[in-house]
Assembly symmetry: C2
Homo-oligomer: 250 residues x 2
């Protein structure tokens, strides 16, 4: 059973303010919860599961020695961030702050300059995970990695890809190639790419002026000759660029 | 002023059932509405704009001879599909059904096999627009192109990229190369691609069995050697594949 006080406390984590105070976030759904239980059980502070969950996943929790609280579907609806909750909700501890460790002479990564859409950030984490990028960087004004929509769209990738919030100048060294996705750069398909950092701009305004100055290699995804489209979605642009770096450098 | 009856009628278009009955859909926000007004005013059945819209866009409607109804922010909130409506809402006629016209010996396009997320469909329309793809195909069970979330995430691309709902066999001819994004196909970066049709599967279940059989060229976006990720988001996979086709064939 969940108490009224617990309901109130979990619900408070829907808001960034309280997440930051408590250093706790919510991850939901059978698939993601099972992934946490099997790979990162130590981040679970509380776990709520329905009878339906227990029937379909009877071995998962005992095998991983994870404690849980039974919850009715009605109560789950009260604490869930989703309109149609999916039988399991974990309250998890924030990840530890660690120092960035990407060696840009050997790897490439992304710097998201004021990315605002939590779904875009989650999708980019999933992409980074696929292409073997272990950490990405975000400007301090970017959307919150612990936003329920980010966690949801990242699937389990938030467990594997670290996110650092910092200014661009803190990440790059003197000789780090800094690529920027802009509208008038070199055609990315014709550019010989090196490992380095790739800046993806804000959904509406692109890359900020102060970061534009730090770009050493402006690159562009060319549009078709017959296209009148103005822009690609930020996550789609990131995936096209990531794919091209991966193709050339893997 | 908008009448109570009009409010009711526009609100009914939030649901597919009524959209299909009336053959009308909603497009919202200053940017998209201005794009419709300037490029496709003929699809507007009714246009509602706030004072804020009129102040900032005083010439757009008269120049394009488009009729409109003033609406208060309060009433706009009642008919809007968004939690934070953005000053303009157009009720638009469905596009005419036309016969598919892609010549797969000269162009490539996508077949979305039960794509369910309206945001994914919208993002794919935006991508298609960027890469000059004039029409895409969807299985009949796929999400609705007129869903407000599809329209919103497509930006203006729904005006330029046609969507046909049909079975796969209706689209392809005997010699059409049919690519399918699967987990055990040929590495797409090492495949010499031709123009043809590319199948993207459902977000959870991939490509349906009946369509798997029609694939002539199974292809895969390789993941990094160190990755344990299971899959890419459907729209991201589509964008990576589209980019690679574009790079090789443009």
């Amino acid at each position: 059973m969940i108490s009224k006080n617990q309901i109130k406390q979990v619900k408070s984590l829907h808001l960034k303010k309280f997440r930051d105070e408590e250093k706790l976030f919510i991850a939901e759904g059978i698939k993601v919860v099972n992934e946490i239980v099997t790979t990162n059980p130590e981040i679970i502070q509380q776990l709520f599961v329905t009878e339906t969950y227990l029937k379909g996943n009877s071995n998962v929790l005992p095998e991983n020695k994870v404690q849980y609280t039974n919850i009715s579907e009605e109560d789950l609806k009260k604490i869930s961030t989703q309109s149609q909750p999916n039988n399991a909700l974990a309250v998890c501890y924030y990840f530890e702050d660690t120092a960035p460790e990407t060696d840009f002479t050997k790897h490439f990564s992304f710097y998201l300059d004021d990315i605002r859409d939590p779904g875009n950030l989650g999708t980019i984490l999933r992409m980074a995970d696929w292409f073997g990028i272990g950490e990405i960087f975000c400007s301090k004004q970017s959307t919150d990695v612990y936003n329920p929509k980010t966690i949801q769209s990242a699937m389990g990738s938030f467990l594997r890809v670290k996110v650092h919030y910092c200014d661009l100048y803190e990440v790059i060294k003197k000789n780090t190639p800094v690529y920027g996705a802009v509208l008038d750069g070199e055609n990315i398909y014709n550019t010989k790419l090196q490992n380095g950092l790739i800046i993806i701009g804000n959904e509406a305004n692109g890359i900020s002026d102060k970061n534009l100055k730090l770009i050493t290699h402006p690159v562009t995804i060319p549009s078709a000759a017959n296209s009148t489209s103005e822009s690609l979605n930020a996550a789609m642009a990131a995936s096209v660029i990531c794919s091209e770096f991966f193709r050339q450098l893997r």
